[in-house]
């Protein structure tokens, strides 16, 4: 994958917004890959968690927007507790999701949950799912 790195991109609105929403210092990451190693959903993701941080830091907004990774993340926090630098990747994932959700673009619609599932699905599934995937 060839990318163009520029200081202009790294100082872009996108990076600023992501830093603000997550409250995390993106420069902590030294790309060890521990997060990807412990992530239970990594095998389903197109961009690995490690790649997401790097792309976020470099301001590669388009590549991140096209990726499904943040929508596959289940906020299990395995990455957070295992990062040797104390970087909370779960917050970065949330920040990227919110950039879409806060524009009133929902990832899931409440009525999308299949009718036959709604009879036995526990309330916490609906509440948590709608909180993470709707704005």
């Amino acid at each position: 994958m060839s990318v163009t790195i520029s200081s202009k991109r790294m100082g872009s609105e996108f990076v600023k917004k992501v830093k603000e929403l997550s409250g995390e210092n993106l420069n902590l990451c030294y790309q060890c890959g521990m997060c990807t190693g412990v992530c239970p959903a990594a095998s389903n993701m197109d961009l690995s968690p490690r790649q997401v941080i790097e792309l976020a830091r470099l301001g590669m907004q388009k590549e991140i927007a096209e990726s499904k990774t943040v929508w596959i993340c289940a906020s299990c926090l395995a990455c957070t507790v295992n990062c040797p630098r104390g970087f909370d990747l779960s917050k970065l994932m949330e920040a990227i999701r919110l950039l879409t959700l806060r524009k009133n673009v929902d990832h899931v619609k409440p009525e999308q949950v299949l009718p036959e599932k709604r009879d036995d699905i526990p309330q916490i599934a609906m509440v948590s799912g709608l909180r993470k995937f709707t704005g």
Binding site: P110, E111, P115, R118, D119, Q123, M126, L130, R131
Partner: protein, 260 residues
Amino acid sequence: MSVKAKKSPTKTKVRKEREVPEVKLIPVYVMGKRYEVPEGLTLMKAMEYAGYRFIRGCGCRGGTCGACGTVYRKPGDYKLQVALACQKTVEPDMYITQIPFFPANRAQYEFAELTSAPEEVFKLYPELFRCVACNACTKACPQGIQVMDAISALKQGNIAEASRLSFECIQCGLCTSRCFGELAQYHMFQLARRIYGARIVPRAEHLADMVKAVNEGKYDNILNELKRVKKDELTKLYQEREEEPVTAGEDWRPKDKTYL
């Protein structure tokens, strides 16, 4: 406006000036425009005094139909207050607007097909789970209903409690207009109350017994007798009837036990 009567030339009288009491006028701002209206009027009458003619946002004028939900503010206070225009008396410098209608989601359903399970509400209104307990709905309710608590009860699957808490709801829609999660609280409550009334609340056994007795013809004789009686006799019977006192207990019986 009344039509002036034609004056007969021989019967002209000088009309006495009627004493009109001094009415204090106070300022009120309707949708941002200032008007002076008499003190003591309701918001609705004040708006009509100012020249507004209601074709929406007005209904029973008695605080029951929920058409006239109004939001207002007082100067120096950022807080929004709510009221029903037909009930609330106007105050100086009130800054008001009406919200006669709000496009709230109303699920389509065949009531006869619904059971008493709380999942019926979950399936028809899945946005129920978007509630974040911010309490904006409770603050927006002109009836003083604990709207957030009632939604909480629905989420917990407690239809009976949700029905109890939302009993006073007049479907004005102000809760939905302020809701962070875009819930149509009043439609969900109506569904809960319908389910409660039709499926959960115990049937009145004494009513069922009475209906059965009537259908079996227990009271046919009395009714036929009364039908044969002439009007004067009927009036007399009615006026001389023995009435059950308001304070009567369970064991009150009429003196004349023929018809029991």
